[in-house]
């Protein structure tokens, strides 16, 4: 099976490991991801202003590309998934946004929300099936006590995101079980990590993440997993290291026994020069 895949900017820079582990795992599960030729930043933050159109356009372009490719649009980064899903919903339901966005873009075929946006986890659950993933596991993660950290972007607003019960979600726990590990349920798993507030008020983000980690640890979690690069940034930055934090895709990569075969992901590009130069090149160099 081939799906159109929208990696987003962060997965090309800071979160290259999230992307790499995700692609390699799906390859091992028999799924090919195809990036649209000219994708751009999703917009990063969904604009709440009702008359804000311009910042939604790049998301619409990616959605339209997936439609033209006759495939659902697969996302991995929580923020991209959030923005693309909500813009898609606007294009379906909000006539004002739909008309204006199409007037701006002048696409060959106007776009009105036809694409199905699915998150990587939904792809695993609904298109492959957690039971099939459990069968493909070579290294069951037995004995590992893992807390799912959802954050807010995947779950809310629940009516639009349609991802899971926003107050008592279970998709990541089901994923952890499929890999042979033990999920740890803790109350703070759907609380905000602080998000972009970290830029303005680092102390607030530290308070949030500390509360999350402490709560997970108090319920017996030894590690946390997340799908969101921003959550990862905040959690790692303020963690004292007692609780290991990794991406959902890395866990899958390990369970499928791919690390033995393919090794670690290439190092993430953190420098401005590297980002400007385009990290994909850097990875190609390394691979060579």
């Amino acid at each position: 099976m081939t799906y159109t895949y929208y990696p987003g900017c962060t997965l090309k820079t800071k979160a290259q490991d999230l992307d790499h582990y995700g692609r390699e795992s799906l390859k091992a599960l028999g799924i090919t991801l195809e990036e649209p030729d000219e994708w751009q930043c999703c917009g990063a933050v969904y604009p709440i202003a009702r008359d804000e159109i311009a910042t939604k356009l790049s998301a619409v372009r990616a959605l339209a590309a997936a439609r033209d490719n006759a495939s659902p649009l697969v996302t991995l980064c929580s923020a991209c998934h959030h923005v693309l899903t909500r813009v898609n919903d606007d294009m379906r339901r909000d006539e004002n946004v739909r008309t204006k966005a199409n007037n701006y873009l002048k696409l060959p075929v106007p776009y009105s929300g036809e694409t199905e946006v699915i998150h990587y986890l939904q792809l695993l659950r609904d298109k492959i099936g957690f039971d099939n993933i459990a069968k493909a596991v070579k290294n069951p993660l037995k004995g590992r006590k893992i807390g799912a950290y959802y954050g807010c972007l995947l779950l809310r607003p629940s009516k639009v995101m349609q991802f899971d019960d926003p107050e008592n979600p279970h998709i990541i726990e089901d994923f952890i079980k499929a890999l042979g590990a033990t999920p740890v349920i803790y109350g703070m798993r759907n609380e905000c990590c602080g998000g972009y507030v970290t830029l303005k008020d680092e102390a607030q983000a530290a308070e949030n993440t500390n509360r999350i980690i402490k709560n997970a640890a108090s319920k017996g979690a030894e590690e946390l997993i997340t799908a969101c690069p921003l959550c990862m940034y905040n959690l790692r930055k303020h963690s004292d290291g007692t609780v290991k934090i990794s991406y959902i895709t890395e866990l899958l990569y390990d369970a499928l026994g791919l690390r033995e075969e393919l090794g670690d992901a290439p190092e993430a590009c953190e420098t401005a020069d590297g980002i400007a130069a385009g990290c994909a090149c850097k990875r190609t160099e390394k691979a060579e």
Partner: protein, 661 residues
């Protein structure tokens, strides 16, 4: 020669504000056949009715049109007035210019035009009306009460006291309902069981009352005065008349995994059980999903230990068929599922309980013997947080839009009882508003807050989570305008109440209308609050809307008095607007028989003289006692033989023509 009178009502400003009354009167005066037209502020008042009566006599009117409210409101009033003046009551037509016109229009010009159209249609129809005579039907002097909670019990007791036999059909193994589960009742704090169980005993011993427990009404047919019901009595696997209620079977039963429904699933009960010590009837019942004998054929312990020989594993569901003159719905309520609001962590934290669960924890016959212990570890809590309006007044779509009415008071009761019995326990209550209208209610709430130091916090809770063996509550204090985080040992959710899920099924069976929340609709929200719009169906208790025990008991009495009023009559006047078949047109095709929901149509083969042509044919016959005038047969009849008295095809067409004029 027709002499029609038209009477236009202002209904105060209800109609007059949106309809130009003078224009309607002026236009009425020029309608063919109309000899008199007049308006009045309140046509339904005595003075208004006198205008009608005087005009009928003075002008010798042959038919009248009243332009007023819906016929459901006052058709009976005006028909009565007409007949008092000597006019056949079925020569009265109502043009509904209130509900269908003035209430829904804002523009006076449009409203007036529509009122004129409705008036013209009614005049056109009334010229084709024929005098009809109402027949009579019997009244079966027995009532059916569906639901055996306090509402059903009180209704049945009142009806029985008036001398009429009553059957109570209760779906559970015992009567008593929700009230039996309560510990104390507000605002007097008297013990719920102490005031309820004597009534339960009275219901059992009253010779006019028959209790049919562990049973559900399956089918209802017929109409006011003469309903027929089929009741399924579910297999108990215990002979009701033989069991002595000794309880030995319960102690010997090896299958003890069933959740104790009476204790809200907080502990377990055996597969054979008596719901609670004061159950009526005090007879065991076997839960067929849990019983080892019924599922595997092995075991049979209860049969061996039963000295009364009451166990019968071969028992089957039985059916009871009975006729009733009136039916009372008293189907009650249940709390909503609190896991829809998992920001309060009801699904994941054992120490988050609903108020009804707390009620069982506080009750001496409950799972903890009445000692306040938290469910997770059985320890004494030092702090409790109550959260009000869980699912009530909800706009998110997960809960109910209405106020559940009883939660403010029972939360104050719980808070006060806990502070009284365990002064070391801190009690906080988060509320949106505290609503305490009712006799001695506000005083009660103030006592909780002022004398018992219950900490009332105006604001809502955003999240409850568990940490290091206790609960954390994050909420907002709207008066201090700050976020607050409280560490606590237990959280109690004042969950909204909703109609029992059986209410919808029962209402459909009885053709009683229900609202969007599945509460049963009253015939009139103010003036006929205990009757359904369907004749002969009455409402008692929370099935009609949220209410507390005093209100439920009052309504139960009111419903009983309506039933008694009906059962006192020997005969009921039937609606003469029934179907009839023109045998010259009928070809005996049976279409009408197939659609008739009342089984009112049969066939007869006899000699027909069609203008001199004589032939023997099979033709339809309508049983006027059974026909309810729904008109379904008139629509399906391919030859146009079926017609409805009072609503004939000609009359309807005349109305349509008048509208399209």
């Amino acid at each position: 020669m027709h002499k029609i009178g038209v009477f236009v009502c202002w209904c105060g400003s209800n109609i007059a504000a949106t309809v130009d009354i003078d224009r309607v009167v002026a236009e009425a005066k020029v309608q063919p056949g109309v000899v008199f037209a007049k308006d009045y502020q309140y046509m339904c008042s005595e003075a208004g009715q006198n205008i009608i009566k005087d005009a009928i006599k003075e002008y010798g009117l042959t038919g009248i049109v009243v332009c007023s409210c819906s016929p459901r409101m006052h058709e009976a009033t005006f028909r009565k007035a007409a007949s008092q003046a000597g006019l056949n009551p079925f020569m009265v037509e109502i043009a509904n210019i209130r509900e269908h016109c003035s209430w829904i229009h804002k523009d006076k010009e449009e409203g007036t035009e529509k009122a004129c159209v409705l008036m013209r249609a009614a005049v056109a129809k009334v010229t084709l009306n024929t005098p009809l005579k109402a027949g009579e039907s019997k009244v079966v002097k027995r009532a059916l009460v569906i639901g055996g909670g306090i509402a059903g019990i009180q209704t049945a007791l009142d009806i029985a006291d008036a001398g009429f036999p009553v059957d109570i059909v209760e779906k559970n193994a015992t009567i008593g309902g929700r009230m039996a589960q309560l510990d104390k009742t507000f605002p007097t704090l008297d013990c719920s069981s102490c005031i309820l169980t004597p009534k339960m005993v009275e219901a059992k011993s009253n010779e006019n009352i028959r209790l049919i427990t562990y049973a559900e009404v399956e089918e209802v047919s017929g109409f006011v005065g003469s309903f027929k019901a089929k009741i399924r009595k579910k297999a108990r696997y215990v002979k009701e008349d033989v069991c002595t209620g000794c309880g030995v079977c319960m102690s010997k039963c090896p299958s003890k995994k069933g959740l104790n429904e009476f204790n809200m699933g907080l502990n377990n009960r055996p597969a054979i059980y008596i719901p609670f010590a004061q159950a009526i009837p005090n007879v065991a019942v076997i839960d067929s999903t849990q019983c080892i004998k019924l599922n595997t054929g092995k075991c049979g312990l209860c049969e061996k230990v039963c000295t009364a020989k009451a166990i019968d594993y071969t028992q089957q569901d039985e059916f009871i068929e009975e006729e009733y003159g009136a039916i009372v719905m008293a189907t009650g309520f249940r709390p909503i599922d609190a896991s829809k609001f998992d920001e309060y962590s009801y699904s994941t934290c054992k120490d988050v309980v609903t108020s009804l669960e707390l009620e069982r924890i506080m009750n001496a016959a409950g799972p903890t013997g009445g000692v306040l212990l938290r469910p997770s570890d059985g320890k004494h809590p030092h702090s409790i947080v109550f959260i009000q309006c869980v699912g009530s007044r909800d706009v998110s779509g997960r809960g109910k839009p209405y106020c559940s009415k009883i939660c403010c008071m029972y939360t104050a009761k719980h808070a006060m009882l806990i502070r009284d019995k365990y002064p070391d326990v801190e009690v906080h209550v988060f509320y949106i508003d505290v609503r305490t209208p009712g006799k001695n209610f506000d005083e009660f709430y103030r006592r909780a807050a002022e004398q018992y130091d219950v900490d009332y916090i105006k604001g809502q809770v955003g999240k409850v989570w568990e940490e290091d063996g206790h609960l954390v509550v994050r909420g907002v204090d709207l008066i201090a305008n700050e976020q607050i985080i409280l560490n606590t040992d237990m959280v109690v959710l004042a969950t909204a109440i909703e109609p029992d899920p059986t209410a919808r099924k029962v209402a459909n069976m009885l053709t009683a209308s229900i609202d969007t929340n599945d509460f049963i609709t009253e015939a009139h929200p103010k003036l006929r609050p205990v009757e359904s719009p369907t004749a002969g169906i009455f409402l008692s208790g929370v099935c009609q809307g949220p209410k507390d025990i005093p209100e439920t008991v009052s309504q139960a009495g009111a419903a009983a008095s309506k039933v008694i009023g009906l059962l006192c009559k020997d005969k009921l006047t039937t609606n003469p607007c029934v179907a009839h078949s023109d045998e010259l047109l009928c070809n005996g095709c049976s279409c009408c028989e197939k659609v008739c929901p009342y089984g009112a149509i049969s066939y007869d083969t006899h000699l027909i003289n069609d203008h001199g042509v004589k032939e023997t044919r099979r033709v339809a016959l309508v049983n006027e006692a059974l026909c309810q005038g729904c008109g379904a047969c008139t629509v399906v009849c391919p030859s146009g033989a079926m017609d409805l008295k009072g609503f004939s095809n000609k009359q309807i067409m005349a109305e349509v023509e008048a509208i399209c004029l």
